[in-house]
């Protein structure tokens, strides 16, 4: 029932064994040890599991593992710079106090990455819309929107 699939994660080749019903989040966390991606609700509501597949933000808890065969996946681990320094979006979140317990942060950052890749200068409304599927129980969102704005400016200045 299971078969081997091969794909790219954060630029590197990877393989896994997956059958129907298996989820991408389990391949990432259990199979590959990429535990940056979190599981909150497991039902598509909270966004903690957000990763980017072929350029689009998706919920890894709803994404069939077998479907990533031949595709390109980016997780929060893929956003760090050389020597594991923080990437610009990660740095903006830290600098703006947009992280408290941090559980929602990887998902927030991946939604931000997908947004800014397609729209380097989003309005506050566009930011809020892009993050609608990412819940935070701690910060109250103001600092998060601020962090996205700062990351956008940092991205454009580069």
């Amino acid at each position: 029932m299971k078969r081997e699939i091969s794909f790219r994660v954060n630029g590197a080749e990877a393989t896994a064994v997956a059958g129907g019903g298996d989820r991408l989040i389990d391949v990432l966390r259990e199979g590959l040890g990429l535990t940056g991606t979190k599981e909150g609700c497991g039902e598509g509501e909270c966004g903690a599991c957000t990763v980017i597949v072929d350029g689009r933000a998706v919920n890894a808890c709803l994404y069939p593992a077998a479907e990533i065969d031949g595709r390109e996946v980016t997780t929060v681990e893929g956003l760090t710079g050389p020597d594991s320094t923080l990437g610009p979006i990660q740095r903006a979140f830290v600098e703006c106090g947009a992280v408290q317990c941090g559980f929602c942060t990887p998902g927030m950052i991946m939604s931000t990455k997908a947004l800014l890749d397609g729209n380097p200068d989003p309005s506050d409304e566009e930011v809020r819309d892009a993050l609608l599927g990412n819940l935070c129980r701690c910060t109250g969102y103001v600092q998060i929107v601020e962090a996205v704005r700062r990351a956008a400016v940092a991205g454009r200045d580069r």
Partner: protein, 285 residues
Amino acid sequence: MIRCEYHCPRALGEALGLKAAVPGARVIAGGTDLMVRLRSRELAPAALISLRRIPELAGVREEQGGARIGAATTFTDLLDDPVVARDYPVLARAAARVGSRQIRNAGTVGGNLANASPCADSALPLLALGARVRLERSGGSRELPLDDFFLGPGATALAEDEILTAVILPPPDIGARALFLKKGRVKMDLAVASVAVLLSMDGPVCRKVRVAAGSVGPVPLRLREVEALLEGAAPTPERTARAAEVAMRCVAPITDVRSTADYRRHIVGVYLRRALESLLGREAA
């Protein structure tokens, strides 16, 4: 989580062949409805047949003056599509209100309809636009009005060996305008109630009216009695108020975790009137 085969066919014929050959197999498009139900073991299909890599099922193209929307077109693709934006903007408006960005990136129009929830956001504008659905099986195909596709909550006209392959939209009605209004508890939510209205005027009278309402019955509903009340008549404020009363009487909402029957009924009346007045360029009283 269930254990079963996951098939990734690359052509529609292959998918239809699998659907016919494997009893109990289920198709999976975006998985945004199905994956939750697999995990809870509510469903245990014999196999999953993915529709994600079938070129025939993806995207929108113009066809016979109208449009053909492949069943596996995601809401994000719908939102980016120039034909939809130009000819069927009400559909884009509804697509924009589905779930979150992540859900729209995966969820498809075909999955939304096949799932047959009374709250399916795409169903309302599609009913108002007069959409038809194309159902195909190995060696055969048929088309029916979307009105006849929904049979009950989670139940559709799809036979065991059929796949919903496309939504067919008639040529855009020149002069008609349409609106979709959705009430959720918060912005990202399934509809507590929703209304889609299409209106075309002929001088002072309504030439054509289509009204659909969501989350207020076992399936997404066409409110034909409301349409009949308005068509051929001048839409005076008195008449739109009367239309709202009729709409509230026609629907059959239930009370559940999301809302009460009374509130849903109320919203249908308010939103119908608001949509009509707005399409007429007036302020809702």
